[in-house]
Symmetry: C2
Subunit: 594 residues, 2 copies
């Protein structure tokens, strides 16, 4: 049931009209040859693959789930075959290093691919998605020998990857993890412990699974400074690089969960499994953070993908479903009732989704472009600037996009009324799938603490000022133009308010760190809206310039921008008040009196 | 997994300290003999039944769901036996008319019973819950003969009831329903049509099921003025009142849905089923509204019940789960990490639930008391006043409590981190169950239109002024006391803002009805907060008076009141802005350009 068509027009708007990526990529020698047509062609093919191959498996994957028997996991019907088609078409290699068999396309193209894959089927997409994270981690931290053995197989998609962090007693708090790594005589390590919540930890899609496992060396200091990272392959590669001996890492069970049923969430038991150290001893968290940051952006794209597909379906339903008459008189007098899209609150539900969706796309594609600049711009200061912006905004992408996606998929479901609650229509699955994105890869509370504590207060606001400078430049450039007042004034206003709020919280947190903890979640939502207001103002600028073109796309864009400023940005009025209310009312009550 | 203990202490606080029900009931001859001890004893027994009999079936009901085979529906394991215990103990009769075998207790006691039943198991509770709705409808509109045949069986619980409104092409828009009722020679009608989403439409809990069905007479005018209500029993009572001939109403299938798996959501096919008219021809909607209003309050209690049980579990987890150190230094230095209740944002998540929960209880119990006054106060002006307040606030109970319950159950789940997403822990079920409450018995958008359009603007704000008067009286009485400033000032402020906002919207809506439709959802949230601010201020007054008693209950109550005013009430700053932003940005865009 349902439908998904890749939103190529809006993707092209963001890539070419908003971000001008063809020119931006010319400054990156690695990607200087890529033109807009090539990107469009790749995305068109990807969209076709997502609609035709991956999307039809979404509902069956949810209904069947994964099946576990005696250490073996079978993914739902069709998952394995679709993955093989994905591998055959070369999609895993899209943004990988040509030195290891990759196609060398920019991160931003891969990001757009992942938006579409997630729209089509989040549970399926997690199999290649985690592999790509493992690729990035090994590419950044593996030895040349490790890269030679593992990267070509992961790049081709023949093997998949996982990240094994969580243990039964620790998720957020990796400092207390217990898995042990004892050195073997041959330079490898014997790793023992239990990992839980390992997505794609065991399955039948690929010939081998490469686990990246956090564990402690015997002499490791306690806490996060005593954690090392290991490669633990399911099958140890033999001298020809083929899957050889079965390693002592096995799936003990899979979880029954609210959503993403098609992806196996595994308990992984390591019983003296052979592993090889990645990077420096006791520096495992640093190495893993490469993978976690990529994963956090990836989770943002999961949120975005679900928002898109839920919007498409609720929009189609709202045009089709006849129910009640418009309050201002019949709009379809020849029919027994009007289509529900005539009703103001149905429009509110649709436009909320649309406004979050399109700003989320602009923001996340822009961030992906910054990653490309960070990775390969010739000018070090540009690389540094891009890296700072990516570091600052990664928690915002993760938390703001996934919170908005939960809101949006719920609104999409609500548009369906009672039918939204029925599994057959497919809408409630989007809500259930979207829910995990607010939890894993660091809960959204953790993201907010990362943003406020580490990224903003940690450098006295230096990175935030870089983003603020972009906003300010835009405000100064556009603020003099009358037609932009309705966008620039509220943008300037929220920019000022963020600055003031940041200083206030910073001052209070110096005296009491709980003040940062108490304000963080509200603060992240305010910053998220600053970012969205900035991108909506920029998009409105383009739409104003082109609305005479006769293309109704720009009329729609402009109307959505106006809706955003009128109806969604005001949420900041709430969160600024809540953030300023401080920690006292949170912390006063003794735990026993709750 | 999980736990549920009836929150008797807080229920008693609301009933006796806040509402002083013993004295209030003395003014109602029908209930004048009931004292506080009796009520407490009934609630204690009910709580025990809920914890011990109904709650243990909650998770198994979710996992098993209902089974359909060839028109027969089996409820999950244990449901039938628990229902028999419920009947044997006389619970269905609690608030029913003694003339028909009822125990004649006030609505407010039944309301408290339903809070607990819903905490324990919403899906199970819908079986007796819908029966009680059918009881109320027949009690109000049935003929003496109909009452004599049906009410004793429904009151005893031997038979259950349903409401059959929705059809495949109409849910909200009953005006276009198609089911037909042709007169038979014997005074009955032959009813033909298809009804969907019929909760408890078929099951194995009771010997007979009494369906209340909306259908059209042959000469009925079109629209909502041509709908009549019929009793359609599954088995037609024979001359002894026992279930006799099988009637032509059959379950065609049951839905697979997001939650409330333990309750059968049925497609009911009527093929010339025999039915008997209830009330006047073509006045069926009026009669059904008795049932729908009761059902809307009932849905509010579903939201409240889920909020309570989810809060209890997330609180226990937050005290137990060790993860990270407090930002202000270790609080449990002897343990590997601190319990997560030390973290400000975990406390925000807990206190949000607690503040919504306790205000929701105060508000809904107070409303139930108004229903008792409406039904049996000796003074007609008191009955009228109470009826007006109930009419005004029914949509607020339904929508505000269920929206808050969805927020709250999601926060409870979030406290569990990744474990919250796993079915075994039981938290994600609360989210899935809570989701339907925002949809059925009139979506929350419909509730907001009922509030703003019919209840507020429909009488030029007369009913709203009655509630406003209560707020104003409290503000005048308490505003002079220094210790109450922190509560009374924001209460007075939101009271003024509601008044102003109502006038603004009213003015705009006179020119354009879409202005009401555009503002309604935001408006309902603002009114909901006015109500909650009022009850929190009243509860704070009591807690201030008694905090010297040494009972830490009042310390907790006061801290929760302060949290509410600091962190939740500010949400109104957002919704007032959004409501004032009007309809233009919603209505401008043509449907084809979305």
């Amino acid at each position: 049931m349902g439908q998904y068509t890749a939103p190529l027009r809006d993707m092209q708007f963001v890539l070419h009209e908003l971000l001008d990526v063809e020119n931006e990529l010319k400054a990156l020698p690695r990607h200087a040859d890529i033109d807009a047509d090539t990107i469009n062609q790749v995305l068109k093919e990807a969209g076709k693959f997502c609609s035709e191959v991956v999307f039809p498996l979404n509902q069956v994957g949810d209904q069947e789930g994964c099946r576990y028997h005696d250490g073996v996991v079978k993914a739902p019907t069709g998952f394995k075959e679709a993955y093989q088609q994905y591998v055959d078409a070369g999609w895993p290699a899209l943004a990988c290093d040509p030195d290891h068999g990759g196609q060398g396309l920019p991160v931003l193209v891969n990001n757009a691919l992942y938006e579409m894959l997630n729209s089509a089927n989040q549970a399926w997409t997690m199999y290649p998605g985690l592999s790509h994270g493992a690729y990035e981690c090994l590419h950044a931290h593996g030895t040349p020998a490790q890269k030679a053995v593992y990267l070509p197989k992961i790049v081709s998609g023949e093997w998949t990857g996982t990240m094994c962090l969580t243990e039964p007693h620790c998720g957020t708090d990796l400092g207390i993890l217990r898995s042990k790594a004892e050195p073997n005589d041959d330079g490898s390590y014997a790793i023992t412990g239990t990992k839980i919540f390992i997505s794609a930890g065991e399955h039948d899609l690929a010939a081998n699974i490469i686990h990246l496992v956090l564990a402690r060396l015997p002499d490791a200091p306690p806490g996060t400074k005593g954690i090392s990272l290991f490669i633990v392959p399911k099958f140890i590669p033999d001298e020809h690089g083929a899957p050889g001996q079965r390693n002592g890492i096995r799936c003990g069970s899979i979880e029954h969960k609210m959503g993403i049923h098609g992806n196996a969430t595994c308990v992984m038991n390591l019983d003296g499994a052979r592993g090889w150290l990645v990077g420096e001893p006791n520096k495992g968290l640093n190495a893993m953070f490469v993978m976690m940051n990529a994963a956090r952006l990836g989770v943002g794209m999961q949120g975005l993908g679900l928002t898109e597909v839920a919007y498409q379906n609720s929009l189609a339903y709202a045009k089709d479903r006849l129910q009640m008459r418009s309050l201002t008189g019949p709009k379809a007098p020849d029919k027994p009732a009007d289509p529900i899209i005539v009703h103001p609150d149905v429009r509110r539900m649709l436009l909320t989704q649309k406004a979050y969706l399109e700003a989320g796309r602009a923001f996340s594609y822009w961030t992906a472009l910054q990653i490309d600049r960070e990775l390969s711009h010739t000018d070090e200061s540009v690389r540094k600037e891009a890296a700072d912006l990516v570091a600052l905004l990664t928690p915002v992408i993760k938390a703001f996009l996934t919170d908005n996606a939960f809101t949006s998929t719920n609104l999409a479901m609500q548009v369906y009324g009672g039918h939204g609650y029925i599994a057959e229509w497919g809408m409630e699955q989007y809500v259930r799938d979207a829910r995990i994105n607010m939890i894993y890869e660091g809960t959204n509370t953790i993201q907010s603490l990362d943003l406020l504590g580490r990224k903003v207060l940690g450098d006295m606001g230096a990175k935030l000022k870089k983003f603020g400078k972009m906003v300010q430049d835009f405000v100064e450039q556009e603020g003099v133009k009358e037609e932009m007042q309705e966008f620039v004034n509220p943008l300037a206003d929220i920019g000022d308010k963020v600055q003031k709020l940041t200083m206030e919280i910073g001052m209070k947190a110096m005296g009491n760190q709980d003040e940062a903890g108490a304000a963080a979640v509200d603060y992240l939502r305010v910053v998220g809206h600053l970012v969205f207001a900035y991108f909506w103002a920029r998009m409105a600028r383009i739409a104003l310039d082109k609305q005479g073109s006769g293309d109704p796309f720009y009329t729609s864009k402009l109307a959505t921008a106006r809706f955003y400023f009128a109806k969604l940005l005001p949420e900041t009025a709430y969160h600024i008040r809540a953030a300023r209310a401080g920690s006292k009312t949170l912390m006063d009550l003794e735990a026993d009196l709750f």
